[in-house]
Amino acid sequence: MNRRRMSMRLAVLVALAGLLPILAVGAIAMEVLGRRSESAAKDSLHEVASQAAARIGAYVAGQRETLRAVAAAAAGGPDAARLLEEVVLDAPSLGRVRLIGADTPAPLLPKHLAPRAVEAARGGREVFSDVYLADDGTPAFDTCIPARSRAGFAVCARFDLLELWRFVQRVRVGESGYALAFDQAGRLVASGAGALRSAILTGEPVPESALAVRAAAEPEKAPARYPGPLGVEVLAGWAVVPDSGWTVVVEQPASEALRPSRTAQVVLGGVALAALALSIAVGLRQSQRLLAELEVEERWRTAGRIAAGVTHDLGHRVAILQQTAGLAETGDPTFLPRIRDNLKSEVATLRKFVADFADLSRDVRALELLPLELEAFAESVRRSASAHAEKMGVSIALAPTGAPLWVRADRYLLERAALNLISNAVEASPRGSAIELAVSARGEEAELAVVDHGQGIAAERLPRLFDAFFSTKRTGAHVGMGLANVKRIVEAHRGRISVESEAGRGSTFRIALPRGEPPESAELEVRPSA
C-alpha cells in the first residue's frame, strides 16, 4: 500500500468515523422530518375540510332560517302566495316557494318530498329531501317549514345549492389542492377539481365516492393518503357537514404538500454530503502530511534499528574472527580444528545474514501464484529441514490429514517462510524434543501449523514479534528480519500469520492461506519435490 492510498484510507476512516454517526442521525432526522411534515399536511387539510364543512353547514342552516322567517312573516297574510313567490327575488337560492295546505293540488307539491313528509310539515315538523340535481344541473333539496302563523299550512321551497358550488370551488390549498363535497350516498355535489365536474351533472361515482360514504359513518377512519382521481397520490382531510351526512374532502397532491419538507431534506442531505466531502479532503491532506512525517521518522528509526542490529551482530562476528585470528597467530597446530570450525561457523552465519537481507529486498507484491497441495508441500519442507534438525537432536513430524488441501502459492517464497519458522522452532527446542507440522482446513482457509515444545516466548514480546529487526534471540546471526519476512510473504499470499506461546511449554505458529481449487489440466500443477 503506497503512501497516497494509505493517506486516503486514513482520511476516509477519519471521515467515516466522524461523519457516519452524523449522517445516520441526519438520515433519521430526515425521516422524522418527512413523517412530521406529512402528518402536519394531513392535519392542515383536515382543518380546511372541517372549516369548509362548518361553513356549508352554516350556509344551509342560514337558508333554512331565512325560509322560517319568510314562513312566519308571509304565510298569514291575504296575499301570501304572491309574497312567497317573490321571495326568490331577494333570496336567489330559494325557488318554488309555495304555501301548501291540505287542498293544494299534487302538481304544486315539492317533487322530491313524499306526501307524508309534506303532511308532517303541515303538522309542525320541518322536513327536507335528499340532495338532487335539478333539470338545469344545480344541486338542490326540497324542504317544508311549518307556517306557524297559519295552522295546517307549510311553506315549501327548493333550496338551490349553487352557493355550495361556488364555495367548494373557491377552496384552494397550495397550487393545486381542491375540495370535493359529497352527499350521504356518496354522490359528488360540488367539486373544486375541474376534471371531476362532469360527475356532478351525470351522477357517475368518482373514486372518492365509496370513501365518502365510509367517511360519513366513521370520519376518524377516513383514509388520509390514496391515489387521487387525477392519477396522482394525494393527501386528504375529511370532515362531515353537521346535520346532513354530507362529507367534504380536501385533497392535495402529496408531492406538492410535502414539497417543503422534501426541499429541507435535500438541503440537509446536500449539506451533510458537502461536509463529508470537505472532511475527507481536509483529512486526506492532513493525513498525507502526517504520513510523510511518519515515514521520514520511520526511515530514521529503521535505519537505526538496522544499524544497531548490524553493528551488534557484525561486532559479535568480528570478535569471534579476532579470537580466531589470535589462535592462528599462536602457530599452535592444536588450534587448527578449532580455527577451522570457527571459520566454517562464521561463514555460515554471515551467509544466512546475507540471505536474510536478500529476502528483505525481494519484491513480494508480484507473486506468481500456482495451485499447491499443502500437505505435500509440508512433507517436502519437513524433509528439507530434517537434516539440520537431526543434527540439533530434534525430530520433525507431520500429521497426515488424509485429504488434499489446495492453496495458490509461490512455492519458493512459501518454502522460505515455512523453513524460517521450522528453523526457529529447531533452535528453540531442547535436544530430544520433537517439532510437529500440521495441515488442516478451517472454513475457507488452509492452515499450516509449526509446533515446538521449547521455552516459549514471553507474552510482552508477542505483539511486536513480527516487526522487522525485532528478535527474541540475541545469541547469533539474528537481526530480527526472519519473522518480519515470513509475515510479508504470508500477507503477499493474502494470508495471515499468528502465534500462540506459553512460557516453558513452547510455541505454535500458524500460516493461514485462502483455499484454492485443484489445478486444471491446462494449468501447471505444482507437485511436491521428491
Binding site: 313567490e85 327575488l89 333539470d135 344541473g137 344545480t138 349553487l162 375541474g194 365536474r197 351533472l201
Partner: protein, 419 residues
C-alpha cells in the same frame, strides 16, 4: 446511381412534411338536429346555418354591410343592389345575380333585375327592408341540398350529428365543426366537461361557474342580439299609462334581479315615480328562461298595488293571446338597431300589439335609428332590459374565441387554433 438515390431520398425527406392534424370543434347542442337548409329556423342547426350561409345584408357595428353585394343604396321603391364578383358557392361555382335574386324572393321579398343591378322592393306589409334582408340568406338549390357561400359546407347530417367542414382550409383555423345532439343542457354540458365534446354554447351563468377551471375548456362571453322585453300592450294601455309604467318600473333593479351583474353599462335609472292608483295590471311571462321569469316577478313587484295576476305561458301562446294581457315579458331582438323595426314599425310582422308611431316610422325610413329610439321612448311600446349575455365554453387551444353579436358562431371562421 447510388448518389442520385441518396439525393432523391434526402429531397424526399425534406419535402414530405407531416400533414397538419385536422382541428375538429365538437359542439354539444341541445335537442335533435333539423336538416340544414338556407331557411332552417329551428333547433341547433341554425348554428351550422351561420357557418354555411351568408345573409344578403349583415349587421356590422351599428350599420349594415354585405360580403355578397359590392354596393347597395336606398331608393324610394326600396333598395338597389349590385352583386359582387368573385364570390363563390361551396362547390366553386360563382354567385350570380340570379342566385341573389332567387334568395331574396325566397325570403318573401319582391325583386326586379335591372341590368346588372337588383331592385329589392319595400315589403307591402310595411316591415323594414333592412331587417328582412338581414334574415335572407343566399343559396343555390342542388341535388345534395342548398349550397351556401359561407366558409363551411355540409359534410353529413342526421338528427344526432351534423358535420360541416371548411371549404378552403386555412392555417391555424378550425377545419371541421361537428354538432352533436344532447338531450338537455345538462347533458350537453356534462359531455363537454367529460371531454366528449370540446365546446358547448348557450350556457347559463350558473353553468359558467361550473366550467371555470376545467382543464381544456375556456369560457367565452359576448352580448347577443336579444334582450328581455317588457311589452306594454298598446291595445289595452293608453300612451299616458304606458309612460307612467315606464317611469314607475325600476328598470335597473329589474335588470339586476333578472340578469345578475351581467348588464354593463347600466341601462336604466333607479329613481322611479309611483304608479297612480288604478286597476290591476295583468302580466304574462313566457316560459323561456330564468331571467324572464325573474324579470316578470320583479315587474309585478315594481308595479306595486297595481301588480296583478301573473301567468306563465309559452311564447306561442303569448303571441296568440297577446290581447289578453296588459304586460308581456318575452325576449326580443334588439341588435342591430334596425332590427327593432320588425317589432314596432307600423304593420311590422312581429308587432305584438299593433303599435303605430308615425314619427318613429319616419325616422326608420330615413335610417336615423337614434331618432327612432328617441321617438319610441316618447311613446313607449316596450321597456328593454340590457342585452342578454351569451356564454360558451370552448376548447382552450383556441386563442381568440369571441361570440358573434348576431349569429352566435359568426366569428368562428376567424378563431385561431394554437399550434
Amino acid at each position: 446511381m447510388r448518389r442520385f438515390l441518396c439525393v432523391a431520398l434526402l429531397l424526399g425527406g425534406c419535402t414530405a412534411r407531416a400533414p397538419r392534424p385536422e382541428f375538429v370543434l365538437r359542439i354539444a347542442v341541445v335537442g335533435p338536429l333539423a336538416p340544414l337548409a338556407h331557411d332552417t329556423q329551428r333547433t341547433a342547426t341554425t348554428f351550422a346555418q351561420d357557418l354555411v350561409y351568408e345573409p344578403v345584408l349583415r349587421p356590422e357595428g351599428v350599420t349594415l354591410g354585405s360580403r355578397l353585394l359590392s354596393r347597395f343604396e336606398r331608393t324610394p321603391e326600396g333598395l338597389r343592389a349590385h352583386v359582387a364578383s368573385g364570390r363563390h358557392f361551396s362547390d366553386g361555382s360563382p354567385v350570380l345575380s340570379a342566385d341573389v335574386a332567387r334568395s331574396i324572393r325566397a325570403a318573401g321579398l319582391e325583386v326586379r333585375e335591372e341590368g346588372e343591378a337588383l331592385l329589392v322592393l319595400a315589403p307591402s306589409d310595411g316591415s323594414p327592408l333592412d331587417a328582412r334582408l338581414s334574415l335572407a340568406t343566399v343559396f343555390r338549390p342542388s341535388p345534395g341540398g342548398d349550397l351556401g357561400t359561407g366558409p363551411y359546407r355540409l359534410v353529413s347530417e342526421s338528427e344526432e350529428e351534423l358535420v360541416v367542414e371548411r371549404v378552403a382550409r386555412a392555417p391555424r383555423r378550425i377545419d371541421r365543426v361537428e354538432f352533436v345532439e344532447a338531450a338537455s343542457v345538462r347533458e350537453a354540458f356534462a359531455r363537454a366537461l367529460k371531454g366528449e365534446a370540446n365546446a358547448v354554447v348557450n350556457l347559463e351563468e350558473r353553468h359558467a361557474e361550473l366550467a371555470e377551471g376545467v382543464p381544456g375548456l375556456r369560457l367565452v362571453r359576448g352580448r347577443g342580439p336579444h334582450a328581455p322585453a317588457i311589452i306594454l300592450n298598446t291595445r289595452r294601455l293608453g300612451p299616458a299609462l304606458r309612460r307612467q309604467i315606464a317611469e314607475a318600473l325600476p328598470v335597473a333593479e329589474i335588470e339586476e334581479v333578472a340578469q345578475g351583474r351581467s348588464c354593463e353599462p347600466p341601462s336604466g335609472g333607479t329613481l322611479t315615480k309611483p304608479l297612480p292608483p288604478g286597476g290591476m295590471l295583468s302580466l304574462a311571462v313566457t316560459t323561456l328562461d330564468g331571467p324572464i321569469e325573474r324579470a316578470g316577478l320583479a315587474v309585478r313587484r315594481g308595479l306595486g298595488p297595481r301588480g296583478g295576476p301573473l301567468v306563465r305561458v309559452s311564447a306561442e301562446e303569448a303571441w296568440e293571446r297577446r290581447d289578453s294581457y296588459d304586460l308581456i315579458l318575452n325576449n326580443a331582438l334588439v341588435w342591430p338597431p334596425a332590427i327593432s323595426a320588425l317589432y314596432w314599425k307600423t304593420g311590422a310582422p312581429w308587432n305584438w300589439t299593433g303599435y303605430s308611431n308615425a314619427a318613429y316610422d319616419e325616422a326608420l325610413a330615413a335610417g336615423d335609428y337614434a331618432r327612432a329610439d328617441a321617438e319610441l321612448a316618447k311613446d313607449p311600446p316596450v321597456l328593454l332590459l340590457c342585452r342578454s349575455e351569451r356564454i360558451a365554453a370552448v376548447d382552450s387551444r383556441i386563442r381568440n374565441p369571441t361570440l358573434g353579436s348576431w349569429g352566435l358562431l359568426d366569428t368562428l371562421p376567424e378563431w385561431e387554433v394554437a399550434p
